[in-house]
Amino acid sequence: MNTKPNILLVDDDELYLYIMEKTIHQLSKELVVSTFTDGEQAVEYISKCTEEKVELPEVIFLDINMPFLDGWGFLNEFKKLKPKIISNINIYMVSSSMRDSDVIRASNFEELTGYVVKPVDKVQLAEIFKKIYQENW
């Protein structure tokens, strides 16, 4: 909690988390990455941040399939918290499948910035960051 994370990774696949962290650091040593292994923990973190008026990360990479609270559940809870959040948060849905039903369902959430399919490679990440950080990048 001391340093504000720039990027939040929410996924129950620890291997994925490890790989993503490594990839992000290859792109930039400056970005701070935080990870949660399920939606529930991520929601708790964000609600805590808003309560304590701590700055929120700019980007969240959200997995769909997770125990306790999945990606959809996270988005529903996030909706409830949204009025209290001032800063702009980019949430990317990350899934290992390109199922149509998931893509359509994702498009119904205006909180979502994009939909990414695993594995997420360096080039994809670079593009996302370029959009978010613009000239700062």
Partner: protein, 597 residues
């Protein structure tokens, strides 16, 4: 069929036949009446011509009776010249056969006879006073003429041959001083007249009878006056087939198919005026009382009626054929119609039946559709499971392998290698779990048996040590009044019950007496099983979608793979059962299982 045709035909034909009979008989009566009329006319003509002949004889005789004979008339000697011219006259009148004068004693004093055809000769005098006509003649007054019966001429007591039918007229004669000097007797030949009477038209039979109904002449007998020559068939009994002949009145009648017309000829007492009108009328005296009868035999009547009969017969035959054909066609059509309606009805029944069948099929198709939908959903879930849960470790692995290849730092390499091992392990776990799931999906070998639910639950219950202790704080309650037996896979039901009890124990609330309750019920004729617990419950707002999904866990502090309810749902759906959940955090959870009908 034929019976009905015949019935209908009779029904139609009988009135027609009655009408025909009526027509025939009225026609017959009319025809017979016409025949009778003609017959009467013919008979009258015969009678009149016969009477005319008689009158012609009487007129001749009257002529002789009114001659003024000389005093002491001696025709043979003294007055032979007086008579000669008269005899010459007679010669030409061929009907004169004999011409005689008889004195008041009844003795002939003049006799002339026809010899051959055209000569009259004076012949020898015969004594005739014993003859009835002579006696009757002597009784005659002035202005009376006697007309005898018709008979065969006899000479010297023997019937003259060839037979010569004659009629005699007798009249008194007077001299110029008005003293009667005798009688004039004339024999007239009747042969011609009788032949004329006999001559018939159209095969009718004619009879001329005398007062005793003896035949004088008849078209049916060759000889005249047959009774005189001993012919037995001479009376009406012999030849006339009728009893109704009478002199009393003229009549026309039908007897045994014969049509008779009879008219009597009565000349006795009749008066006529011959010659000049100023002459005194002459009275006819005669013992004869004839009867002219005309008979039309049945053969002739039939011949007349034949055309009527034939035309009616033809009409009837045509009617019979026509009506029969009509009845046949009509009934055939009707029977065909009836048959058609019957068939229609049976077809209707068949249609109704097939409609029912169709509806049944529809229900079956619907059920099948439902189960197919479930199958489809399961397959889709399976597809998702594979694509998602299997794909992510595999992609991770490929990324790590890529990293290892690029990594030069051996220290970092050592960090990466164990990650691969992790991936391998997770894949192995996943494969095992998928195997379990696939075994359920591929349900071909599911053995359905009749299950005693109570027995099964108690069996499963004993697998849990928590339930064995009395004071464990966990109880399994049963309320299986509605139903207790069900056809299902024993293995699946055991697994399902096992998962429910296991979950109920895992997620029980602290500080309360925990229980799980199985309650059977019937809703809409379907077997329903409620499974209730008073555990910690679940936030369905958050997790409702994921309750029955694979690898979903909702309670961080309690161990679990996230597979129990996923398998329960799969095992239920494999046998067309459904499951729903109702839960409240802190109160408990209720599952509702609905089994197939």
């Amino acid at each position: 069929m034929w019976k009905r045709v015949f019935k209908m035909f009779i029904g139609l034909y009988v009135p027609l036949f009655a009408l025909n009979l009526f027509l025939y008989y009225s026609q017959k009566a009319k025809q017979i009446e016409a025949i009778m009329e003609r017959q009467i006319r013919a008979n009258t003509m015969k009678k009149v011509s016969f009477e005319e002949e008689c009158h012609s004889f009487l007129r001749n005789t009257h002529y002789w009776a009114t001659l003024k004979y000389p005093k002491n008339f001696d025709p043979l000697v003294e007055h032979s010249s007086f008579l000669r011219s008269y005899l010459e006259l007679i010669e030409d009148i061929t009907s004169y056969d004999q011409f005689r004068f008889i004195d008041l004693e009844g003795k002939e004093f003049f006799r002339a006879e026809r010899v051959g055809n055209d000569s009259i000769i004076i012949s020898a005098i015969q004594n005739k006073n014993y003859h009835p006509y002579v006696k009757a003649g002597l009784q005659l007054k002035r202005n009376q003429i006697y007309l005898s019966q018709i008979s065969l001429n006899k000479e010297n007591g023997e019937i003259e041959k060839p037979h010569k039918p004659v009629i005699r007229t007798v009249a008194p004669i007077f001299d110029n001083e008005q003293n009667q000097i005798g009688l004039v007797v004339i024999n007239f030949k009747m042969k011609k007249i009788l032949d004329q009477i006999k001559s018939t038209v159209e095969d009718k039979n004619v009879y001329l009878l005398d007062e005793d109904f003896r035949v004088i002449t008849s078209s049916t007998i060759k000889e005249d006056l047959p009774y005189e020559s001993g012919n037995k068939n001479s009376t009406i009994d012999g030849i006339l087939n009728t009893k109704a002949i009478t002199h009393i009145r003229d009549s026309t009648f039908v007897e045994n198919g014969h049509i008779w017309s009879q008219q009597s000829i009565k000349l006795n007492g009749a008066t006529f005026t011959y010659g000049s009108i100023s002459n005194l009328p002459t009275e006819i005296v005669t013992p004869s009382n004839w009867l002219m009868a005309l008979e039309i035999p049945p053969r002739l009547v039939k011949a007349v009626l034949q055309p009527v009969f034939e035309s009616l017969l033809i009409f009837n035959i045509i009617s019979i054929i026509g009506l029969f054909v009509f009845s046949h066609i009509y009934l055939k059509n009707r029977i065909e119609k009836e048959q058609f309606y019957k068939e229609l009805e049976s077809k209707n029944i068949l249609l109704t039946r097939s409609k029912d069948q169709l509806e049944e099929n529809n229900v079956m198709v619907n059920e099948m559709n439902n189960s197919l939908e479930i199958k489809n959903k399961q397959l889709s879930d399976f597809n998702y499971l594979i694509s998602h849960n299997l794909r992510s470790p595999v992609t991770s692995m490929s990324v790590i392998v890529d990293m290892i290849r690029k990594e030069k730092n051996p220290e970092l390499l050592n960090q990466l290698l164990p990650k691969l091992d992790k991936v391998a392990k997770s894949i192995t776990h996943l494969t095992e779990d998928i195997n379990d799931y696939v075994a359920i999906l591929d349900n071909k070998e599911i053995k359905i048996v009749d299950i005693d639910l109570k027995e099964l639950i108690l069996e499963v219950k004993h697998e849990f040590t928590e339930t064995l202790l009395d004071n464990s704080g966990f109880e399994v309650q049963l309320n299986l009044a509605a139903w207790n037996h069900i056809s299902y896979s024993k293995f699946y039901l055991q697994s399902i019950v096992h998962n429910f009890i296991s979950n109920a124990i895992k997620y029980k609330r602290d500080n309360v007496d925990s229980h799980i309750q199985f309650e059977s019920a019937l809703e809409n004729k379907q077997k329903v099983l409620y499974v209730r617990d008073n555990g910690i419950g679940l936030n369905l707002d958050r997790h409702g979608d994921n309750v029955f999904k694979l690898y979903k866990r909702f309670h961080r502090n309690i161990s679990g793979k996230g597979m129990g309810l996923f398998l329960v749902k799969s095992q239920l759906e494999a046998l067309n059962a459904t499951i729903t959940i109702d839960s409240k955090v802190g109160e408990g959870t209720t599952f509702k299982l609905i089994f197939e009908k």
